[in-house]
Assembly symmetry: D3
Homo-oligomer: 249 residues x 6
């Protein structure tokens, strides 16, 4: 089920059979000469929506703007500051937990979000911890590329030049989902440089076309499809395991 295409009473019914929900979360930021600005929120959305087709899972709307301050020197990037991100994610969590969701899995598409997601988890957990009460819900972060089997497949598909930003894997996923939005460019150098990530202007000076360590030319819609199908199945299993994970009394 897609939450946004459901009614409140359908969600009420869903809550009678499951207390688990998955939230796609990403970022809207430059992805090199050919990557879509939406790549990092589209990938988890594509995977979660694919998973939803073959399992009785509930998918929330996508948290589409993440923590991407280092990409702000490239047009089209939209970023929350970490403090804003934490406040916003907290309100999402408080809303969902208030309805009775007890397992909230965030399927993440952006490495730069990880710290802010974990900080946001701690911020809401801390309300319970300071008050000496149980939270009543469990939060989980899964990067889609870390779902069981996915990194192995990506490594097999892209033995070199996978890199860490504007990777052929994520671009392949969007090429499969949005074939008409496929772009091409000459990459120079073929594999982009790597290095530390700091503020936006330094980032652009260090990574002039926006890629980090990657060669996106290797992406194809077919590879993207394989990644999506595998990730979707892995996500279903993760949600199942998360749902049945025992919680100490």
């Amino acid at each position: 089920m897609l939450l946004h295409l459901s009614t409140w009473s359908e969600i009420e019914q869903f809550l009678e059979r499951s207390r688990t929900i998955v939230v796609p979360i990403g970022s809207n930021e430059q992805h090199g000469p050919t990557g879509l600005l939406g790549t990092d929120w589209l990938c988890p959305e594509i995977i979660a929506h694919q998973a939803e087709k073959s399992a009785d899972i509930l998918v929330a709307p996508t948290f589409n703007i993440g923590m991407a301050q280092h990409h702000l020197a490239f047009p089209g990037t939209i970023s929350l500051r970490p403090s804003t991100f934490i406040a916003a994610l907290g309100d999402w969590i408080r809303s969902l937990a208030g309805h009775g969701f007890e397992r909230i899995l965030f399927l993440n598409g952006h490495g730069g979000n990880i710290a802010s997601i974990e900080a946001a988890f701690a911020e809401v957990y801390a309300e319970a911890s300071f008050a000496k009460r149980r939270a009543g819900y469990a939060l989980k972060l899964n990067n889609w590329w870390d779902l069981p089997g996915v990194v192995e497949l990506a490594r097999e598909q892209f033995p070199t030049g996978h890199g860490s930003h504007a990777t052929p894997a994520e671009i392949a996923v969007t090429e499969w989902a949005f074939p008409s939005a496929r772009k091409s460019a000459d990459y120079a150098p073929p594999i982009a440089p790597s290095g530390p990530i700091r503020e936006a202007l330094e980032f652009r000076a260090r990574f002039p076309d926006g890629r980090v360590g990657s060669n996106p030319r290797q992406a194809t819609p077919e590879k993207g499809e394989a990644l999506v199908m595998l990730a979707a199945q892995s996500l279903i299993k993760e949600l199942d395991a998360f749902t049945h994970e025992p919680v100490p009394a």
Copy 2:
């Protein structure tokens, strides 16, 4: 152009021919027995994406979670507090203005967002005002139902029972865009009550099935299509007028 399906260099090129962008903004909240939870962010997204098909305009990703605290007693609603909303919208605006966008039009789908959007505008303008410098950008709020001609069409389509929440107009729009997600229910009473809006539990006590003043049974995909087509054309004209609005030196 859809920003999220573009590359950063495509946006860089767009900025050479236009400094205007439209941001669909809404809310994810209960919409009565048959309305989709996503109604308020889907409607402006549908209209903006429709407009983009026939004009060289740029559409940002959708700000999909709004200020809906009063709907939190119905499962599936996700809400930001106004303070979170203001912080988040501020970061969107600062990101876009930083890239050189000088006219940012928010196409809004949720009445409950209006105050928080205007407060957010004032919050970012205030940075310039306190610093005694020009902002360099103009912000504009358009509710989709207030686009020229739309309210007249809706009144013609739904002379009674339009109401103010879970309206037949907004439900018709989503029925056209997502025909397979069309729902039906017995409405009792046919036209929902009206009254003041306060916190969530009072809201649910006052409006037991979530509707306010509306009779959504009148919605049809065909009426939705007419609304979308008209609103899309109006939006294009609004963007054009906004783009050419003179700014005092």
Copy 3:
């Protein structure tokens, strides 16, 4: 009763016979060549204090500094940012609700406050909504010029050149209350321009003497008196209706 001229035990006794309070709220900002900087907080204060003379109502101190970022390019304006405004109004509301006030009516004197007041209402209501508990109090915003009958009288008094800032109506009210502070000036043009309101420097460029759409020369103390007397009686009725408004269980 004026709260600030009462003792705590007098308020304790008042709470035994009524749970309603009115809070004048405005702004301290430029009002054109002849309008007082205090106009927007003086008007609701004058009206509420007038009402208090003929009815057993309780008037709180005046919230005198509002959201006026757009007026900051004119000397004497003092403004809160919306986020500060929301925090401050929230603490006022929490204080009053904590004493048992169940109906808090804000009599507003500044259009620019409306969004921030409504956002503040939602911010405090949200505490109850997220916690799934009833708030226990109801908040209401009344602009003094929207009190029943007032706009009709103003339209009759000022058929043209009423405008939206530094209006003859509000200036008339202060002329009646502070006759010795009456000012005069040559207005050029007689009726000020209108247009969108953004940050402070653009505002001053667009509205060079501070007025928006108004011709304040039409103000007289006598017209002000008529407005105050009518508004005061309307306020008393509004408070009565608000007090007796049924709340769903």
Copy 4:
């Protein structure tokens, strides 16, 4: 000059002859069986307005709600939290400094405000300090009872039972200014207890009628008048000294 009864151009002219302004600041809180809830903001307002009658000084509107969390168990008290207070006072200061005021003197009427006022000063100064630039303005806190000569007069008037809250001195000031609001009560014991001040419920348990160490029965309008006249003259001298205080280059 009273700022709120002036126009923006009158303030513009004032700024050509002086860069100094005084802001009355206080609190709205219980003041024992007979003290007015407004005592702490009325006293500095009364004194500053008195001073304004005999000197060319500029008086801002009164910051009337202060930090009074410890009084919240008594009806009628309205309090900001320190963090809200700091944000609000900061916006006042930024507004005034933005207009060119270089000396801002806060005439304070509430001991409980002192820490929050000084913290607010440091908060705005810190903006300059972190940015390694000069602030361009100087802030000063004067409690009205600490103005030269005032404490000596109060000690002479009230050799015993002055205390620290609901003091006969502050009550005398309001009795002079608002003779028709004079109250009486039996005080038991005549001199209230003293002790540490913590949260509101402990405060009320420790100080059952709200007074701290005081015997307000000694207040008379005549003593109030003497205090006001002396304080007003002292304030004028303080403002003059502050205006001419040299600032290192």
Copy 5:
């Protein structure tokens, strides 16, 4: 006991015999030509750790970075803004109170912290006050130089040139504790100037070598030892009195 050298179960046991804890709190900021940057947090730490040797008291880790915005123009100073300070101290207090500590004494080493400490106290107390519940804990601020007898000893040791920043007393304390870190310099003038404290650049212009009113040359390790021994004994008595201070029901 030093909390940081204890285990959680040792603290659990301590809480069975005492509900009191002392927290050294200070600042890391310039202290003139010869004073250590750590002076203001080292002094209370030294005194509290000395006291702990002869009494069964519990000493928390040191809150070592305080509110020192005015010293930021001198290298090595690290400062929190007041708002940050209040948030941080609040979390310390909430953590300790959550474990059952009912008396938390802050032994302070920096005058510039006083306002922010008191504001922080009020901020956490306000949570109870707004919620109409008892806090359950008492907070107390003691500046080490105000401990009974200490100021008299310091006055005797340094009849002139004690001043208010980089005082010979505080420097003597660190000279005793860190003899190898003793510094020397020519002071010009011997006794530093005094004056108001504002933002950092003005501070440095007014107090070129960082001292305020002091002649630190008078410091010796022996005088420091006498101060520490006396202060440690006074602290033990203060803690005992605080522990046994009656609280109203």
Copy 6:
């Protein structure tokens, strides 16, 4: 050099030869039956202070209270919320960068801090990124156990039962530094369980004595000494490499 035992002019001189500083950062939280509450801030402090003995590096005071909300159910834990942590670390960074430090290395002792540290880095970098200016400084996070060679030594010393909280490695470090504070206990089971980390009460239910996956009995002061000596040398090399890391123009 230890910053807190230096004068401001010594730091001024240091800045002429180096723009690099190391800040020990940790947490004060339960560490199982025998681990010190201060373990996580003592370890990086011990290592950095050891390194300082043999190299011309500058060590800041220790950021001793971290993000430890999940440990709050064990007495003695003191935690900042992530939002407070980010604000506080931000002020440290702004203070140091303001003095001209261009490389700030945080030597971290607590895994639970990592997300909040990285979020804090992004928060301060974002100020530059939104303003389209270079930050002028680089921030780096090194966990002490990840310094080159350290994890290999720890694995050799503790082939099983190292775990992730209250590890024998960190306890060994404090045993070497504080031999008199060495504790002993019967561990049951010898190796603690592992599992996800959420809010405090769930944590204590899941990890009853506070350990996670570890067997601290294996700790000895000798092993601690070896770890410290190796880590100190690695830190010096890291600082040197960080200092000489090229930055793109």
